[in-house]
Subunit: 281 residues, 2 copies
Amino acid sequence: MNAWDSVAIVGVGLIGGSIGLGLRQRDLAKEVVGCGRRLSSLDRARRCGAVTRTTTDLADAVGRAQLVIVCTPVDRIADHVVEAMANAPADVVITDAGSVKGLIIERVTAGPSVSDRFVGSHPLAGSEKTGPENARADLFVDRTVVVTPTEHSAMDATASVERLWRELGARVKRMTADDHDRVVAVTSHLTHLVAAALAGTLDVEEGALVGTGWLDTVRIASGDPELWRQIVAMNTDSVLVALSRFENQLGRFRSALERGESAALMELLETGKRMRDALGS
Amino acid sequence: MNAWDSVAIVGVGLIGGSIGLGLRQRDLAKEVVGCGRRLSSLDRARRCGAVTRTTTDLADAVGRAQLVIVCTPVDRIADHVVEAMANAPADVVITDAGSVKGLIIERVTAGPSVSDRFVGSHPLAGSEKTGPENARADLFVDRTVVVTPTEHSAMDATASVERLWRELGARVKRMTADDHDRVVAVTSHLTHLVAAALAGTLDVEEGALVGTGWLDTVRIASGDPELWRQIVAMNTDSVLVALSRFENQLGRFRSALERGESAALMELLETGKRMRDALGS
């Protein structure tokens, strides 16, 4: 039995395409409408089976939707949520897949419509590969998805959003938007800036001596700069706090090196190893 | 036809074991003697076919060696090179596999023997996995090995060392020890410190929101802390210069974030992406 009659996915890139594929392969939705600006992306999403119908008209896409998932670039999400809300049935449930939550919720709440049908999400899944052609029905399996209801969120809307991610195989973690933004500032946004800064530290002629260690450490610096510019711009305060924490830790390494303090250096290296080893292989 | 009658490998871990396997599988040496302190490592090296004979006595190992490769921890290499030189035939060629070159050469040159038979090497290959049981005959294939002859090095010794690495499939890059140490301070030693500092910045309870990006970025922080403590301690001046360069680059990110300078932030992210994309997939 289908969980939803009509689901609209706004933005059919890697994330939107993977949600569509996951819904279709698990027979969770009768209809999956893909909405986007570019006909070529929409065509690719339809050809790979991620959506059953496509449109460039958001109002058309959400017209009879029970569930809308907005997967557009993070600085467009709030506008698309507000537009979906204005054009969807009154009992629609809307979520998103943005890497920042606080500012999106703030903007949606400031909009003209009642916002209790919107519950933000952030799937901690992705890839440097983009576009619906890289979509995978199992992209969210065993991944964490943070869901950030507010005091205004309708309980049934929160339940529907959490069901969506669980049906796609994810672990759901409920958090406040502020807590989410503070933690991903460290785990994700700072990590991206550090990788980009480290890659940017290298001179071209030094590139001959990079090994697999360097390549792995700065791999994520390959990500779309515009996407990451938007993300850190929308979470600047928390990113600056995270950056200060990192600078402090790096300063401890500098101090141990300058003073030749072997034991302090060893302790710092062990702290890093302990944390890395604790969190996965 | 064998290139060498007798090769001694001092220290049969991942690197020493892989050199032995590579020599044996390519039929490059009649005899490969493995020398180490621990009988268990020596047994594993012999069982996996990396060496034909083992001994815990360095003088015995190098007694009739034409080629000696010292693969012990970086702060022991100079002592082992000097000891090998004192006990090997006069026309022996000695190299090492240490990640730092200047201080090793300085210490060897300060030793009692004539040092023109020693030519330092640094294979840019390795793994978090250690021990001869993880050795691979192809570990050096298509990898860069830096060879650092000095003005005192005998030409035939340099040629033998470069031949060794080429026979094992590596690309040889000849550099001065100082240039090598300056460049790997950025590409490798700084990279390790940054990964360890980033891992150490995380609080335990934030670990629930780490994704594959964080795990990749700090993967090398899993490396042996004692090994890395030795490496950075032996290359402190260059590592501090590299650290300053990274701190400057990171400071540019901070400044762009604090001032909300979108274009500057975009340029910094693009610089990192350009360098990463230029150096491999």
